[in-house]
Each structure stands twice: as structure tokens, then as C-alpha cells.
């Protein structure tokens, strides 16, 4: 797969797709290692391909070391069939004096691929390299190819940015379709837990708990994260929680039944005692937070009194079995199902591959909507 090829493709081609054609001219004077990215378009070869191309993810490679990159795409034939807008550009080879890389620009993906089967779309998005340093701008974070690759590659762990972006997308769907029937709920982001843990340390030391412009209270009044609802107006809040930077779980605060439910198949992995300690900040501080924002005075239907005992924390039984390493995807999928008022039983481990691809596509589309 690796060959030393220098390719220079024209950069300013709006709404055009530049795909390397048949001509492959080997250039012997390329000093730096040039990665030849070959998308085989075959399911079988995909894994090996990524493993062989891991170094492409490296930032240093993305920035400087690669002078040119060639993309050969078998699916271009499909694309040509489906979309008349696809142009095939093929330009000669230049020496390695350029720092520009070959640019594959798929803009307006929706219009481009009228028959946008997930597979086709995914293939398009795989080849994306935008003009500015291979980075596309999602609402919450800039994302490069490696970022998307992490989502659709099986067994890869999701990071906080993935969870945040996915939850934002879920909130956005909810926000944009207020008429459809959904649960009256909202979500937080992954940073809520970190604020909470930090604050719990203060609480133990008996320092002042809240102060002006408190980030923690911003979550409760709906100012943060973006497109969240104030807690006063909702029945349920979903929180993604991270356990020691190795496991994602989903917690649900139910204001009506006054309960905290944890959706995690692997509760036993954490261990009952550790689990209790893990949930302690939330269960302890939640009531103080709610009192601070005057929750109970505005929601008289919730019987509270002056009871300050922490709400009970329960592990939800019969959570669908999940494979290891996919818990991030499951958390996102659980939130999606629960917000739409559907049972989470249909979230099964054998569909994870499909979930990952769809998540990737939806996040990719959220970028396009920005432009």
C-alpha cells in the first residue's frame, strides 16, 4: 500500500469532488514518507487498512510530514452513478515542495448523494479533508478525521468530546421538533460531573458551597450546556457519568419519583462499595442544588417537605447487555431512546456497529448544517 507518490490536486474546487484517477506516477524524489491512503471499499480490508494507516491520525503527520496524499476510491464509481455533480479531476504530479495536501472536498453532501445510503455517506465522510488543516467544525468542537474514525471503528473508546457532541445533537433534535411527543426531560454534559466532584471536595471541607456565577447552577437553570432546558420545567435529567476515565454510565434523575437511576450493565465491574462512593457527590449535592434554585417551591406537586436525606440511587436492572468498550455508544443510545420515550430493550450489542455508523453520520451532518 505504501508507495512514494507525490500528488498535487487542485485546491479551489468548490462543490467538487477530487478523486485520484488511474494515473499513478511514482516520484522518487520525495524525501519524506508519503502516506498513500487507499480506501478499498471492501468490508474485509477495512480493519487491516486502518491498522496500516494508524499513523495518519498522528497530528504531526496531518500537519507537516505528509506532503501529499493520494486517495484511491473504489466507491467513486458508485458516486458517479448516483450523483451527476461528482467531477473527476486528475492532475499531474508535482514534487514534494508543496505543503498542501491533496484535497478531497465533499461539500453539500446531502445534495451530492441523493441516494444516501449510510454506507455511501460514510464512505464520503471518510474521505473528507477540508481545506483548513483537515478540521471540520462541529457545534461544540472542531473535529478531524481521527475524531470521526474513533466513532465508527468498533471497540474504540469514546472521549468526552464525542459524548458531548452526541448529547448536543440529541438536544438539538428535541429542540427543533417541539411538537413531537418526547419525554419532558433534558441532559447535562460530561463536565457537570467534574464540577460536581470538585464541589463535593469543598463540601467535605465545609467550605462555601455556592458562589456568584456558579457553573454548577448554570446547569440547573438551563444556561449550560447549550439547548438544555431549565430543571424546573422538566421531569427527568440524564447525566453521562465517567468512572475513573475508563467507563461511561448513564444516570437518570427522576424528580417525580425522587430517584436516581443508573443505567449500566456492568455495575458489578465498579463494585458496590466503589459504586456508592462514585455516586455520592451527585446524591448528596443534588438536593442542595435543587434548594438553591428554589426547585421545590416552584414545583409544589413534588412532595418534599424539609427532607434532606439523599435520594436513593438504584441500578436499573435488565439493562441490555453490552460488549466491553462500547459503553460510550450505549450511553448515547440510551439517552436517545429514553428521551423519545422508547424502551431501551432494543439497544442490543449486535447493533453496535450500526449505531456507531449512524452516530458518525449524524454528527457529520450536524457540521454541514452549520455551513
Amino acid at each position: 500500500m505504501d508507495a512514494k507518490v507525490g500528488v498535487d490536486l487542485e485546491e479551489d474546487l468548490p462543490d467538487a469532488v477530487v478523486i485520484k484517477g488511474e494515473d499513478q506516477i511514482v516520484h522518487k524524489h520525495v524525501k519524506a514518507q508519503v502516506n498513500v491512503d487507499v480506501w478499498k471499499g471492501e468490508e474485509k480490508g477495512v480493519r487491516e487498512h486502518y491498522e496500516a494507516q494508524v499513523h495518519v491520525d498522528d497530528r504531526s503527520d496531518d500537519e507537516a510530514n505528509i506532503h501529499a496524499e493520494k486517495v484511491e476510491d473504489k466507491c467513486n464509481t458508485n458516486l458517479e452513478d448516483t450523483s451527476p455533480m461528482v467531477d473527476m479531476h486528475n492532475k499531474g504530479v508535482s514534487p514534494s515542495n508543496n505543503t498542501d495536501r491533496s484535497i478531497i472536498v465533499y461539500e453539500n453532501l446531502h445534495q451530492m448523494c441523493p441516494r444516501d445510503t449510510p454506507k455511501n455517506l460514510l464512505r464520503c465522510s471518510l474521505l473528507i479533508q477540508t481545506r483548513s488543516k483537515n478540521v471540520v467544525h462541529l457545534p461544540l468542537c472542531p473535529a478531524n478525521r481521527a475524531w470521526f474514525k474513533t466513532i465508527y471503528t468498533p471497540d474504540k473508546w469514546l472521549t468526552d468530546e464525542h459524548i458531548d457532541s452526541a448529547l448536543y445533537w440529541i438536544r438539538k433534535v428535541k429542540f427543533e421538533s417541539p411538537t413531537t411527543q418526547m419525554e419532558n426531560c433534558t441532559t447535562t454534559d460530561v463536565l457537570f460531573q467534574q464540577h460536581l466532584d470538585a464541589r463535593f471536595q469543598w463540601f467535605i471541607k465545609a467550605e462555601g458551597l455556592f458562589f456568584e456565577n456558579d457553573k454548577l447552577l448554570e446547569y440547573c437553570v438551563g444556561a449550560s450546556p447549550r439547548l438544555a432546558n431549565p430543571w424546573i420545567g422538566v421531569d427527568k435529567v440524564y447525566l453521562p457519568l465517567n468512572y475513573e476515565s475508563k467507563h461511561w454510565v448513564l444516570a437518570e434523575i427522576d424528580f417525580i419519583t425522587r430517584k436516581i437511576t443508573v443505567y449500566d450493565h456492568e455495575t458489578y465491574c465498579i463494585g458496590p462499595r466503589k459504586f456508592e462512593r462514585f455516586m455520592e457527590p451527585l446524591s448528596t449535592l443534588l438536593l442542595m442544588l435543587l434548594q438553591k434554585i428554589g426547585f421545590f417551591s416552584k414545583r409544589p406537586e413534588i412532595e418534599h417537605g424539609e427532607d434532606m436525606t439523599p435520594w436513593s440511587v438504584e441500578g436499573r436492572e435488565l439493562v441490555p447487555q453490552q460488549e466491553k468498550r462500547d459503553c460510550g455508544v450505549f450511553v448515547i443510545k440510551f439517552v436517545e431512546h429514553l428521551i423519545h420515550g422508547e424502551s431501551i430493550d432494543s439497544v442490543q450489542a449486535d447493533k453496535v456497529k450500526y449505531f456507531r455508523i449512524y452516530l458518525c453520520l449524524n454528527l457529520w451532518r450536524s457540521k454541514i448544517a452549520l455551513w
Binding site: K133, L140, D164, S245, K246
Partner: protein, 101 residues
């Protein structure tokens, strides 16, 4: 007596330098979740990686331990302050980078 004679040119020189490069540097305040603050002076055209690494070194932790956010948006190390829309005196929040699987 010689000092005052020497000083004015120095002052002038410094003032000139400041004049020349008023827009080249900016101060950024990096705040962690416990509200401890570190102030960095950075060049506007330097990628933020330098600041991030310096912060991690200062905190005695491995690189990439933290995520850096500005107004809720994640900052990437290859961005420069200008590209990220940062201005003089802006506040960056840091959090632990979290993974899970």
C-alpha cells in the same frame, strides 16, 4: 547623575517595542474546576499546544491530561488563539480529559 541620562532612551526603546508589537501577544487566563488560575502570555500566532503543554508541565501531569474549553467549545492544540477566537484577557477552562469503554 548618569542614570537618568541612560534611562530615558531605554524607556523610549521599550515603549517603541511595545508599540511595535502591541498585537503580537495576549494574556490568557487558564482556570481549573477548583477556580485556581494561571495566567499565560502567548503569541497570537503560536498554536495553543504550547500553552497546553506548558500548563500540563506546570501542573506536573502528563500531557493531554486536560481538555481546554473556551465558552463551552473545545480548543484544539493546533489552533492558534486567533483562529479560536480568543482575545486578550480571555478565560480558558480546563477539565480532566475523560475516556470510557
Amino acid at each position: 547623575m548618569s542614570d537618568p541620562a541612560v534611562d530615558p532612551p531605554n524607556v523610549k526603546k521599550e515603549a517603541q517595542e511595545e508599540k511595535k508589537t502591541p498585537s503580537e501577544y495576549m494574556t490568557l487566563r487558564v482556570k481549573d474546576k477548583d477556580h485556581n488560575e494561571l495566567v499565560f502570555m502567548v503569541r497570537k500566532a503560536t498554536p495553543l499546544k504550547k500553552l497546553m503543554d506548558a500548563y500540563c508541565v506546570r501542573k506536573n501531569v502528563e500531557l493531554n491530561t486536560f481538555v481546554f474549553l473556551f465558552h463551552g467549545r473545545h480548543l484544539r492544540p493546533e489552533q492558534t488563539p486567533d483562529e479560536a477566537g480568543l482575545g486578550d484577557g480571555d478565560e480558558i477552562d480546563t477539565f480532566q480529559h475523560q475516556l470510557g469503554g
